[in-house]
C-alpha cells in the first residue's frame, strides 16, 4: 500500500437552493476540487461517490454517474457508495483504497445532496417487517426524540445541565458565523439558545441541526503526482469504516439487549479506534476533530466514548473553552452540523474537506494554530460509521 494525498478540495456552500438541481451543486464542488488540484477532468481515472438518497442520481442514488455525464463521459469506473449519513466518507474510503492499492493514480471522491423539507423519514417504507416503520408506528420517535433520550440519560448519569448544552450551541454558532460556507452565519447568546423552542426535552431548536443542501469533492492522488503538483497536499494517515457491535446498548429500532459493557455508538468507537491504530496515533496527537454533531449532545458524548477525554468531563472541557480552536482539543472548528445543517450523504465528505482546510492553514479566523493532524468522524443510519485521519 502506498501513501495517498488529497491534492484538491471543493465545496458548494451549504444552504437551501431550491432553484438548483443537485447536479449543479456536485459540479460546483468537483470543479473547485479539480482547479485546486490543478487536475483536468479527463485525467481522472475513477469516481467514488456518496450514493444520494433524496435527490438526483436517476432515483437510484447514482450521483457518481450523473457527475460523469455532466463533467464529460470518459468511460471511467464509478462507485456509488451507500452508508446513510456516513456515505461521503465511505466513498472516501473506497477512493483511498483505489489509490493506495496502486489501481488508480487520480480519483475524485464526491458527495452531493438536496434534502426535502421537514422530517427525514428514515425508511419511508410502510412495511411491518421494517424496524424503522415499527419504531414510528408503534411508538413514534423522530430523530430529535432519539437524540433527546440519549442526552437525558447523560443528564441522569453525569448531571449535565441545560446550560451545558446551550454553551455548545453558542460555541458552534460563534465559529459557524466565521465560515463562509456555512448556512447559518449568526451568533447566538446563551439566553437566545435557552429561550429557543423546546423540541424534545432537553433539546431545544438551536441545539439540533436541520437539513440542508450541499456538495463536497476531493481529488486523491498518488505520492508521485502529489510531489510534482503546485498545490500543497494533505496526506491521508488512515481511513476506517465500521459497523455497530452486537453488545451496543442503544436501541436503534424498538429494542436492544442490555449486556455487559453496552457501549454507545459502538460503530463510531470502532471506526475511530481503527483509524487511530492504523495511523499509529494517540488522542493527544490529534490537533482537531470534526465530529458528527446532529445535536450538541454528541460533542459531549463522542470524545468520551472514544477515550479522548475522561467520561463525565466533557461539560468542563466546553466551559473552559478547551474545545475552541485555541483550546486543548478543538472540536468542530467549522461550526459543525449546527451551523451547516445536514446534507446527509454529502456530510461526511464535507467534514474531511473542513479538516483538510485546517491542515492547510486556510481556515481564517477559525484556524486551529499549527494544526498538523485532524480527525473526521461520521455516523450513519444502519450502524455505519467512518473515521478519517489526515496529516500534513
Amino acid at each position: 500500500m502506498r501513501d495517498v494525498a488529497i491534492l484538491g478540495q471543493g465545496l458548494h456552500p451549504w444552504g437551501k437552493f431550491n432553484d438548483k438541481p443537485v447536479t449543479e451543486l456536485c459540479r460546483t464542488a468537483t470543479e473547485a476540487a479539480l482547479a485546486d488540484a490543478g487536475i483536468k477532468w479527463r485525467d481522472v481515472e475513477a469516481v467514488a461517490a456518496a450514493s444520494s438518497r433524496f435527490s438526483g442520481g436517476k432515483g437510484w442514488g447514482l450521483n457518481g454517474n450523473d457527475l460523469v455525464e455532466d463533467m464529460g463521459s470518459t468511460g471511467i469506473p464509478v462507485y456509488n457508495m451507500s452508508a446513510g449519513c456516513s456515505a461521503g466518507a465511505n466513498a472516501f474510503n473506497v477512493g483511498h483504497m483505489m489509490v493506495a492499492s496502486g489501481q488508480h493514480d487520480i480519483v475524485v471522491v464526491m458527495g452531493g445532496e438536496k434534502m426535502p423539507k421537514g422530517f427525514v423519514q428514515t425508511s419511508g417504507l410502510e412495511d411491518p417487517t421494517d424496524p424503522e416503520y415499527l419504531r414510528q408506528r408503534c411508538v413514534g420517535l423522530p430523530g430529535p426524540g432519539f437524540w433527546a433520550l440519549l442526552c437525558r440519560q447523560r443528564m441522569a448519569q453525569y448531571g449535565t445541565t441545560e446550560e451545558d448544552l446551550a454553551r455548545i450551541a453558542v460555541k458552534a454558532h460563534k465559529l459557524g458565523a466565521l465560515n463562509e460556507n456555512a448556512r447559518f452565519r449568526k451568533e447566538f447568546t446563551m439566553d437566545e439558545v435557552l429561550n429557543s423552542a423546546m423540541v424534545n426535552f432537553p433539546l431545544r431548536l438551536y441545539e439540533i441541526c436541520p437539513v440542508s443542501d450541499g456538495a463536497a469533492a476531493v481529488v486523491l492522488c498518488s505520492p508521485e503526482i502529489a510531489k510534482k503538483a503546485k498545490s500543497k497536499p494533505v496526506w491521508v494517515a488512515s481511513s476506517a469504516v465500521a459497523t455497530a457491535s452486537f453488545d451496543d446498548g442503544i436501541p436503534r429500532h424498538i429494542a436492544c439487549t442490555i449486556g455487559k459493557g453496552n457501549p454507545h455508538h459502538s460503530e463510531a468507537r470502532i471506526a475511530v479506534a481503527k483509524a487511530m491504530k492504523s495511523a499509529n496515533l494517540k488522542p493527544s496527537d490529534v490537533d482537531l476533530i470534526e465530529l458528527q454533531d446532529n445535536t450538541v449532545y454528541y460533542e459531549l458524548a463522542f470524545p468520551e466514548e472514544w477515550g479522548f477525554i475522561e467520561p463525565g468531563t466533557a461539560e468542563k472541557w466546553v466551559a473552559n473553552g478547551d474545545t475552541m480552536p485555541t483550546g486543548k482539543l478543538p472540536i468542530n472548528p467549522s461550526g459543525g452540523f449546527q451551523s451547516f445543517g445536514e446534507a446527509t450523504t454529502a456530510q461526511a465528505l464535507w467534514q474531511i474537506v473542513e479538516v483538510a482546510s485546517q491542515l492547510r492553514g486556510e481556515a481564517g479566523e477559525r484556524q486551529v494554530p499549527n494544526a498538523k493532524i485532524g480527525l473526521a468522524q461520521s455516523l450513519g443510519l444502519g450502524g455505519n460509521a467512518t473515521a478519517t485521519v489526515l496529516r500534513v
Binding site: 408506528r137 411508538v139 413514534g140 420517535l141 424534545n200 442490555i258 449486556g259
Partner: protein, 140 residues
Amino acid sequence: MSTETIESAEGLFADTKNGPRLLGSRCVTCDTPYFPRSAGCHNPNCDLSKVEDAEFGPKGKIWSLSIQNYPPPPPVVIVDPFEPFAVGMVDLVEGLRVLGRIVSDTPDKINVGDEVELVLAPLGVDATGAEVISWQFRPI
C-alpha cells in the same frame, strides 16, 4: 369518531392471562432476548443460533425519557388535537431495553430510574380513523 380498534402492529404484544406481555424470542443457547421476534440469534459468539418464542414484561425501569412536543408526521399515531406525549427507553428485568410511550398525566415528574409496568393503551387515531393500541409503560 373512531369506530374500530386495531393493534399498532400484529404479533408484537398480547394481553395474556398473566397480563400484557411483549412477544419476542430468546436464544436457547446464549439466552439473548429479542424483541420483536427474531428468526435467529444475532450474537456473533453464539454458534447454534436457535431461538424460541418468549414473553417479556411487565416490570422495568426508565433508562431515559423525553417529551414529544410537536406532532410527528405519519406513520406516527397521535391524538387530534395533538397533545405532547412522553417517550422512554425502558430496561425490562428480562434484559431488554425497549422503546415505548410513557402513560402519565405528569410526565415532568418522572425520572430516570423510576419503576414502570407494561400496559396496552391507545396511541391515538391513524389515517384510516382507527384507534391504535400499542405497548406503553406506566409508572408504578
